[in-house]
């Protein structure tokens, strides 16, 4: 304990624990265990990052220096620089954002909240606006807006881990999966007077217009009508001369050809679901301090290496 006043009683015992290399070793294993437990977290964030990662790291700042007070001046210097870098990175990590979680966004349906861990439990946190995600050829297009207030938008690539800032949030695509709820009907439309069929995909609540002015609207969808008749769509066909509302079934493709009266023979080929997008969300913040912290840690490690190589060279010279 060079440079420190002598300690007695419980202070000496406490210092012995802090300065023991076994304490630093134990904190390292705590950090490893904590990081391992976070690898497969459901919410896309470490479920206990404070206790599992940040607390042992913060304690390491002190124990690393304390355990090197009796080491050589060079080793103590680089241990102190590394500890300073670690402390800076921890503060930088806090500044760089937090409140991480995941938002489930399904096609046309916007969401206003996302799941995150609060006090060890999964809770819904408000995004402050409606988040809408749309799968496009270029990636996932995100829009955050509340009525006429447009807060931000971004396009996330389908492959990769990159985040994009949307409003005050940093978002990334965490998962893309097939949705559970039926979202649109695939229709094969053939003129009743004869001709080539046309294929259309129409969402629930929207309509498709044909050249002759006929409008076909998808009113409702069912993945298994009455739990007996399979996938079905309730269609409203508006044509010159009348309106026809009826259920169409995937398992009965010739039904409309036999009993329909509209100018178009409608065949329901599939009831499909929208992809379900899981978007990782966290509060965005500046990352400069965190990067600077990691930079200082790198400098400390490089300095340690330079000292070791210098010592090795002088040892060889002496031999």
């Amino acid at each position: 304990m060079a440079g420190l006043p002598p300690m007695r009683g419980p202070w000496a015992s406490a210092w012995a624990v802090i300065a023991s290399p076994w304490t630093t070793w134990g904190l390292g294993l705590w950090l490893a265990l904590g990081a391992a437990m976070g690898l497969w977290s459901e919410t896309g964030q470490h479920p206990a990052q404070g206790v599992a990662l940040q607390l042992p790291a913060a304690l390491l700042v002190f124990t690393l220096v304390a355990s090197h007070l009796t080491a050589s001046a060079a080793r103590l210097r680089w241990a102190a620089v590394y500890a300073a870098g670690l402390a800076t990175a921890l503060v930088g990590g806090w500044l760089a954002g937090g409140e991480a979680g995941v938002a489930e966004v399904g096609g046309a349906r916007p969401t206003e909240s996302y799941s995150r861990i609060v006090a060890g439990r999964k809770a819904q946190a408000h995004l402050g606006a409606q988040l809408q995600a749309q799968l496009t050829e270029g990636g996932v297009s995100l829009t955050l807006a509340m009525k006429e207030n447009h807060l931000g938008d971004a396009v996330l690539p389908l492959d990769g881990v990159a985040e994009a800032q949307v409003g005050r949030w940093a978002m990334h695509l965490a998962d893309l999966a097939e949705g559970d709820e039926p979202a649109y009907a695939r229709l094969k439309l053939t003129p009743r007077t004869g001709g080539d069929p046309i294929e259309r995909a129409v969402r629930t609540g929207s309509a498709t217009a044909m050249d002759d002015g006929t409008q076909i609207m998808v009113m409702r969808l069912s993945p298994d009508f009455g739990r007996a008749l399979g996938p079905a769509a309730q269609l409203q066909i508006d044509y010159e001369g009348g309106t026809n509302t009826a259920w169409h079934f995937v398992d009965s493709p010739d039904l409309d050809a036999r009993v329909g009266i509209s100018p178009w023979i409608v065949e329901l080929t599939a009831v499909a679901s929208e992809p379900r997008l899981t978007v990782g969300v966290r509060r965005a913040g500046p990352t400069g301090a965190a990067l600077a912290g990691f930079g200082v840690m790198l400098v400390a490690l490089l300095g340690l290496m330079a000292d070791q190589l210098r010592a090795e060279r002088s040892r060889e010279g002496a031999v």
């Binding site: 294993l29 490893a32 904590g34 470490h46 680089w78 954002g97 940093a170 298994d224 990067l291």
Partner: protein, 285 residues
């Protein structure tokens, strides 16, 4: 998987290379830690495969198509009383004997580590370091052997035959062929490779030049792993506390702590073993 995780894994491997090919006493400690790392990787793979169950609980692998999308089949079942049920069934490949293999890998890894830490040799030379290789190698073989590829109607039929689903009226067939690779296969291959390196160092003991050993020390590994963290930050465009980023960060910190450790080869090598196991587990994360 991000290339940054591979870089961190290389960072954690460097000190093992330096330690395994050093003086006889130190190499023995490092071989023990290699066995520990192989066992830890098996344990982490077991923890990572939901649901974590009892010994007999099967591990299953999700089937994905060439684009990496999960594959499922919509199955129509005929129930009692003429009732029909329509179910979307994600296609999953059970990995027979996987949990037994992982437990064996964990047990043999720890046993091998324990025997290495004894002063006297048990059995012929290379016996103790061969145990972790046997465990991790067998687990990797079980996982790799389960990666079944299938396609078309026959593939779905073969899958459905595994269950007592009753009368199947009809099912849909995925458009593309699919295959199922259990998560953790790569991590187990990495564990087996490390255990193999440890066995090699026991069979062909070779002390590296001192300068090489300095270049292959834990703090050099920490430099590589810290570079991986910075790379990942730039790749992501920020510093989130997601699982993989947290693991990368912890790997770099563990290697640095090991690098600053002065007195004990055991403390140094166990920290590197934990870092290596964490980096390997991040491959499956």
């Amino acid at each position: 998987m991000s290339a940054a995780v591979w870089v961190a894994l290389v960072g954690a491997l460097l000190p093992f290379v330096g330690g395994l090919f050093s003086s006889a006493d130190q190499a023995r400690t490092w071989r023990a830690s290699a066995g520990l790392a192989a066992g830890l990787i098996a344990a982490l793979v077991w923890i990572s495969t939901p649901p974590v169950g009892a010994l007999g609980h099967p591990i299953t692998a999700e089937a994905t198509d060439a684009a990496g999308a999960p594959v499922s089949s919509v199955v129509v079942l005929q129930r009692d009383g003429g009732r029909r049920q329509v179910r979307r069934l994600p296609l999953r490949q059970p990995v027979d004997g996987a949990v037994f293999a992982l437990w064996a890998a964990l047990g043999l890894g720890l046993l091998g580590a324990g025997l290495q830490l004894r002063k006297a040799d048990v059995g012929p030379r290379g016996f103790a370091p061969a145990l972790p290789l046997l465990g991790a190698g067998a687990a990797a073989a079980v996982f790799a052997g389960a990666s079944g590829a299938a396609s078309g109607e026959a593939g779905v039929r073969a899958y459905l035959e595994r269950f007592e689903v009753g009368a199947v009226q009809s099912f849909t067939v995925p458009d593309l062929p699919w295959s199922a690779q259990p998560e953790g296969t790569l991590a187990l291959v990495v564990a087996a490779a490390l255990a193999g390196l440890a066995l090699l160092s026991a069979l062909i003991p070779q002390a590296l030049d001192r300068r090489w050993r300095i270049l292959l020390s834990p703090s050099r590994g920490a430099i590589v792993a810290s570079a991986a963290v910075i790379w990942r930050m730039i790749e992501v465009g920020g510093l989130p506390w997601r699982g993989v980023e947290g693991a990368l960060w912890a790997v770099a910190a563990l290697l640095a702590i090991a690098g600053f450790e002065r007195a004990s080869a055991l403390r140094r090598s166990t920290l590197v073993a934990a870092a290596f196991a964490l980096a390997a587990a991040a491959l499956a994360g």
